[in-house]
């Protein structure tokens, strides 16, 4: 992905982000890009790279959450032949591969603390040593990191090193979630409609009516721009907006009918003894399914537990996912799937 998409949007926040990029792309200073999942952190990193004097040099991406500690270490720094059992060939690390260019460390908040120390050392000294090597090598890489965690919180929990935080955060770029900049939605739809139309045999996407746009801007968009992209692809295939919007709107949207629907469900379940049955009514034997009963019961318990933790954490989803010991993505999915609503304030 050498040519990232441009930054799309007219909201003050996005205009400001573009402005900031133009002012810092030539500095080579360490940058942390933060924002929820799917807001386009990598797009920002690509834009910084494209506008920098390092354009044309390597752009190397490493996802710090995708690899276990040992692998991540050898991925970043490489190893010498014979560094450990199985190291039959010398391997070049991403720091070496990114030399002269950009090293994009995605999900930096998930980097194990020991590796954070090593990264800090590299940033301080500008040198790194592959595993099993006695020599340190100079590195000239522009470090751009991204995270959907609140690193300040992670520092308090002693999961992120404060000194590394300061060294990385020379420049901060925060991208707000899509639901906080709904004026960007029509522009994003325009851009991606054209892009997908040319990718999918010139099938074109129906332009959304103002009613549909209204619904789109009331939706919570837990998956942000990436989710909007997926919605657009589905519209392209199905040729209609309505089915898709009906599919995602409940449980998340802030329109009244949706909220009422969900309240009905909530009051219905506890009032019935047969709460594990759908709609609180015993099913006829034709459609009786233990599997479905199990799923309903499980959903109910999960919904209660997740709602409770979300309430306790003040809807801090990153913290809630930690407490629940599920991934952030899974939590977002569950919130959407179970129709858990954020508090109305």
């Amino acid at each position: 992905m050498q040519n990232g998409p441009p930054i799309i949007g007219v909201s003050p926040a996005i205009v400001r982000v573009s402005d900031l990029i133009n002012h810092v792309a030539d500095t080579g200073l360490n940058i942390v890009i933060s924002g929820e999942t799917g807001v386009g952190k990598e797009v920002i990193a690509q834009n910084l790279y494209q506008k920098s004097p390092r354009k044309g040099k390597p752009f190397v991406k490493v996802n710090c959450a995708a690899l276990p500690e040992g692998l991540l270490e050898s991925e970043l720094y490489g190893y010498e032949r014979g560094a450990f059992t199985g190291a039959e060939q010398k391997k070049r690390g991403k720091f070496e591969l990114a030399n002269g260019g950009v090293l994009f460390l995605d999900e930096i908040g998930d980097m194990p603390i020991l590796l954070q120390s090593k990264l800090l050392h590299v940033l301080q000294s500008g040198e790194f040593a592959p595993l099993g090597s006695e020599k340190e090598f100079k590195t000239d890489t522009w470090l751009i990191a991204a995270t959907n965690h609140n690193l300040e919180d992670e520092i308090k929990k002693q999961k992120f090193r404060e000194d590394l935080y300061y060294r990385l955060n020379i420049i901060k770029i925060y991208i707000p979630p899509l639901r906080e900049r709904t004026e960007d939605i029509p522009h994003l739809i325009n851009y991606y409609s054209q892009l997908y139309t040319s990718q999918f045999n010139n099938r074109s996407i129906l332009q959304p009516s103002s009613r549909i746009l209204q619904k789109l801007s009331e939706y919570y968009w837990p998956g942000n721009v990436r989710e909007l992209q997926n919605v657009l692809k589905r519209v392209l295939v199905l040729g209609s907006w309505d089915d898709i919007i009906d599919g995602f709107d409940y449980g998340y949207g802030s329109s009244n009918d949706v909220r009422q629907k969900s309240e009905q469900v909530q009051t219905q379940i506890p009032s019935s003894n047969n709460s594990i049955f759908k709609n609180g009514q015993a099913p006829d034997l034709e459609s009786f399914s233990l599997k479905e009963i199990k799923k309903n019961a499980l959903d109910k318990v999960e919904k209660e537990a997740i709602s409770y933790i979300l309430e306790k954490t003040g809807w801090n989803r990153s913290r809630a996912s930690k407490i629940l010991k599920i991934s952030y993505k899974t939590l977002l999915y569950k919130i959407s799937e179970l129709g858990i609503l954020p508090p109305t304030t």
């Binding site: 500095t27 000194d163 300061y166 420049i171």
Partner: protein, 126 residues
């Protein structure tokens, strides 16, 4: 009479900006202010040759004080910079590495700050 020095103050606290601005204006400085690094940088780019000195906070939204110091020292090396760090924060080392001319820790005594500014500017011109 002393020449009127022009300074830029960057801090994300409105209160601090106002206090500094009042104090230094009274002391016969020409004062510009910005509440974050990006806005500070923009002011410098529109009137770069004018400023004698910058006072910047370290921890700020968008471009941090360390970022400002690094960028200014590269693009406008003639401008002096004083970095001010919050109590209990630990990026002083970064500010020095980025070659701030002076790093001070909060709380700041404004009379003292005034003296240090004049010292810095005069030792540079001599």
């Amino acid at each position: 009479m002393q020449k009127k020095y022009k300074i830029l103050i960057i801090d994300d606290s409105e209160e601090i900006l106002n206090t500094y601005k009042k104090f230094f204006t009274k002391k016969n400085y020409s004062v510009a202010t910005a509440s974050n690094g990006l806005d500070g940088l923009k002011i410098l780019q529109t009137e770069p040759s004018d400023f004698d000195l910058i006072i910047t906070d370290i921890v700020m939204p968008n471009i941090s004080g360390v970022g400002i110091i690094s960028i200014v020292k590269k693009k406008f090396p003639e401008i002096l910079i004083i970095a001010i760090t919050g109590w209990g924060e630990h990026p002083e080392m970064l500010a020095s590495e980025a070659a701030a001319d002076l790093v001070l820790e909060k709380p700041i005594d404004l009379m003292e700050l005034d003296k240090r500014i004049i010292d810095l500017i005069q030792s540079k011109t001599n």
